[in-house]
Symmetry: C2
Subunit: 320 residues, 2 copies
């Protein structure tokens, strides 16, 4: 069974003088917003600074002055962004950014990145870039073009793990797996001391967790099945420093690192990444909204043949 | 300007006692066959053993007992296979194989591999495999399931080059470029002594060449533009031995090698591939039709940042 783990992501920063996303909008607003991309809310945790919704397809985080929504599968996230724009109005919005990772099954998606930004283009001017090679892992990033300048202190990180170790895949596809077992397996109590957690184990496979502590967040979404394994870890805490732990636990054959405003990206990756991972691609650009985006893909060199994956010829689904 | 270089490929082996594809079928038959996938014939060369058609989208080769058709772009090659089956009949067909590389722009294709083999499934049973990782370069291969056993002597090779050196890209996108210039640049007279050539320079970019000598063939298709460069070299002569020459000329950042029935794949790649290319994936399987398929992807490790690719936000075409 295949599942499209690859995610779309939108961040919207609002003018906190005009609106507080935490205080001024009811949960029903967010419910409708996520329904616009065919997702729904599973559960929620919050503190004074952040509200974190666990979704049927990934996560929604709300702070006073911004939101971050991440969705996987066959959602059309841009429709949720459109709903937000239509309800709140561009006048209160300081910056919209919209990101999309290349998919495993692009042909099965409801829209392409080009379609999505054409829709956003009805509301705002913007610029778009590709980080990563066209024939390899890459991220498309669109951002609104206006006088907004991001703070250098607003850092964020993504660590994506592909082709996790078969034993990990097996463990995480166990029937009856509990959230507690996954949290222990990922050593989250140790790695994220002081965070509160909210997680969900999907049927038949899949795991999501949101973790928050003050303004800090971390979210993990796992598509564990060996045929299309994908583990996405996203946070505004330094994931490059946490990479050695996650790589030891997941033992993936390939990883992506993406950071926004991590000036020390190069030094950190050299310091923390195990030397057996070889850098396949390295991209960096300072966007005109002042965000410094860095992207890297690393691989483990292969020395022995793998067997070809046998496919079900009667499964003429999106998976082929 | 983007172009989908990635190819689909079909090989059909017939019972030479019942039909000779060289002698018994008029060129008008092949004209109609290639039109079925929205390609057309540009030119043809032949000798006693082989007829090679250069197509608007790649190539068609005919031998007495088999055909090989390769098409790129947005063709639906499986419709040409269907036409052949309908006209010739399954009784004269000993083996059909159908292969598809993962595309740059899968969402823009008219069909997926799953769709294609569902259509073939109306005419024959078959098996399908994926060579290569789902999140990296890979080839889907379908083959008819019957008592056919391929001869070990039937070897074939593919060498695909990605992200060719910017200077090569520049050279091959020169306005007014001639076939002679490309042949000289690729040193084909030296590398393919005794072969006869038939080539075509496309507007605004692109180059195709067929080369034959007795039963031997080699074909090269070049999508030169830097944003989506793709050079496909396919042959039934040993391309692994020729790889050092092509790699020196094209200087790509990544290459795929695929071979059928090359028992010495491992030794040859170790002998011929420059050591700076690191093996990212290695797949091998003996299919039940006796074909031994080997696939490998190699990369050049990156040490410096590339700039992100700036995209045209108004180009909501298939390219994004």
């Amino acid at each position: 069974m295949f599942f499209e783990g690859s995610e779309k992501k939108a961040e919207i920063i609002v003018d906190a003088k005009q609106i507080s996303l935490m205080n001024d909008l009811a949960d029903s607003f967010w419910q409708t917003l996520v329904q616009c991309c065919n997702a729904h809310i599973l559960s929620m945790i919050k503190n004074d600074d952040c509200k974190a919704f666990l979704l049927s397809e990934s996560s929604l985080f709300i702070w006073h002055d911004r939101l971050l929504i991440i969705t996987c599968g066959n959602t059309r996230l841009v429709h949720s962004v459109e709903y937000f724009i239509q309800q709140i109005g561009m006048a209160k919005i300081k910056q919209i950014s919209y990101q999309r990772k290349n998919e495993y099954f692009a042909h099965a998606q409801l829209s392409s990145f080009g379609d999505d930004i054409a829709l956003l283009g009805q509301y705002t001017n913007g610029k778009a870039f590709r980080f990563g090679e066209l024939d390899g892992h890459h991220n498309y990033i669109f951002h609104q073009e206006n006088d907004f300048q991001a703070s250098k202190a607003d850092k964020s990180y993504e660590l994506i793990a592909y082709q996790i170790c078969p034993k990990v895949s097996e463990k995480l596809t166990n029937v009856g797996l509990s959230g507690k077992e996954v949290r222990e397996f990922l050593q989250l109590d140790r790695l994220l001391a002081g965070f509160i957690f909210d997680d969900f184990v999907f049927e038949p496979f899949g795991y999501s967790i949101n973790a928050i502590k003050g303004k800090q967040f971390l979210t993990i979404h796992i598509t564990p099945q060996a045929s299309s394994s994908y583990v996405s870890i996203q946070a505004n805490i330094n994931l490059i420093a946490l990479a050695p732990d996650f790589l030891r636990i997941l033992a993936p054959k390939s990883i992506d690192l993406l950071s926004v405003n991590e000036e020390a990206f190069n030094q950190l990756t050299q310091q923390y990444l195990p030397k057996e991972y070889i850098s396949k691609s390295l991209f960096q650009k300072k966007l005109s909204n002042n965000n410094l985006v860095s992207f890297a893909n690393y691989i483990l060199p292969q020395t022995v043949f793998s067997d070809a994956e046998s496919l079900d010829v009667n499964d003429a689904s999106h998976a082929l």
